[in-house]
Symmetry: C2
Subunit: 200 residues, 2 copies
DNA sequence: ATCGAAACGGACAGTAGTGTCCACTTGAGC
DNA sequence: GCTCAAGTGGACACTACTGTCCGTTTCGAT
């Protein structure tokens, strides 16, 4: 499970560059054409031959995993920054949504292709990322106390759907932000008029 | 716009039967394999040749539209039953979710294929179905007063996503119910301890 | 500058799904 | 029961995507 982490002994510089260019291209293509965009389109967009792409990533899932892995790194760093502050959970949620609007890949890629080994391997990492912050937030009363990790995963699925939808009107960013807002506060109004106005 | 509504002058009985069988098959196939299941699979599942399918429905969107139209009929009847009672909106929402778990087709079909004429034609009907009940519910304070129709559409998109996800654990029904509950009440707890406990 | 290994990308064959055509079958009116 | 238009489904040609193979190019070490 640590086979290709960090250290890859001898890699030619151009190969390394190409790999990076492919991942970047994949981010864009996945974002604009969805996760099952023609694999070939990614190669073209990256300016490499299809063979080069296949050599680096056996299939679209491996490529997705590479992207997700990057994102996970960022998110884990963020989690570390927040330590055990109870608001870490919400911060993570927002950060995930932000990366969503950017990469369009994280959760959809993780959830589709059920059982794709390359992606499935990352699930525990996502789990680990969220479990503790979720518990903290729950005991601190920042989220409802029956909120489970499975719920959170489904919430991410829902947000991803809004993102994936081509949406005839507002920008992706606005729609995502709104969707998150709706999810957090619900469709039903808060206790109408009362002391502190929820703070947001 | 009324070209093929209700009256189709002379149709052979077997043709009618086949059409019905196709729609039924499509419901099941879309439900289990998603909206872009091979068109051919539907024909096979219905026990008819592909040509027969194509003769009845030029493409998957036309077929989707037929299904959605059925569902819309049911929902419109429900809306009529509720008259202008302020809880009509929530009832509709639940009903849609129920049909979702059954058919898996309504909203996803409506929202994907952006601009497919066959489906786009139904959008106004959905709009009409929801607009008034939404307004009633809003003025009655049953939903937050900044809730727009666009929001509702996105909510339906989100619910459809949970449904579409193969979900490793709980049944579709349970997950849908839970997702709806989360959406309605939000992730954040209601005003913790206070007079009336929200009623549910 | 030279040489071998690493990496490249275009070309190729294989596969899955689409949409149409047409020889055959079947229902319904006479 | 006969007839013919309506209806059927298998076959076919077409397209898009996938994954691999191999002759050529490029890196980097000597």
């Amino acid at each position: 499970m640590e086979s290709q982490t960090e250290k890859r002994p001898a890699r030619r510089r151009d190969a390394e560059e190409n790999r990076a260019r492919i991942v970047a291209a994949a981010r864009e293509v996945y974002a604009s054409a969805g996760f099952d965009a023609p694999f070939d389109a990614i190669a073209r967009h990256a300016g490499v031959g299809r063979a080069t792409l296949y050599r680096n990533f056996p299939d679209r899932y491996a490529l997705g995993a590479a992207i997700v892995e990057d994102d996970l790194g960022t998110l884990e760093a963020l989690a570390r920054e927040h330590g055990d502050r109870p608001d870490a959970f919400m911060a993570l949620l927002s950060a995930i949504v932000e990366r969503h609007t950017e990469t369009h890949a994280l959760v959809p890629a993780l959830l589709r292709g059920p059982g794709e080994p390359a992606l499935q391997a990352l699930v525990p990492r996502v789990t680990r990322l969220l479990t503790v912050p979720l518990r903290r937030a729950r005991t601190a009363g920042l989220v409802r106390d029956d909120l489970t990790l499975a719920d959170v995963i489904d919430v991410l699925t829902m947000l991803a759907a809004v993102l994936a939808d081509d949406g005839t009107g507002r920008s992706r960013e606005r729609r995502m932000a709104r969707a998150l807002e709706l999810l957090i506060h619900g469709l039903v109004p808060r206790e109408p008029v009362h002391s502190h106005p929820s703070r947001r």
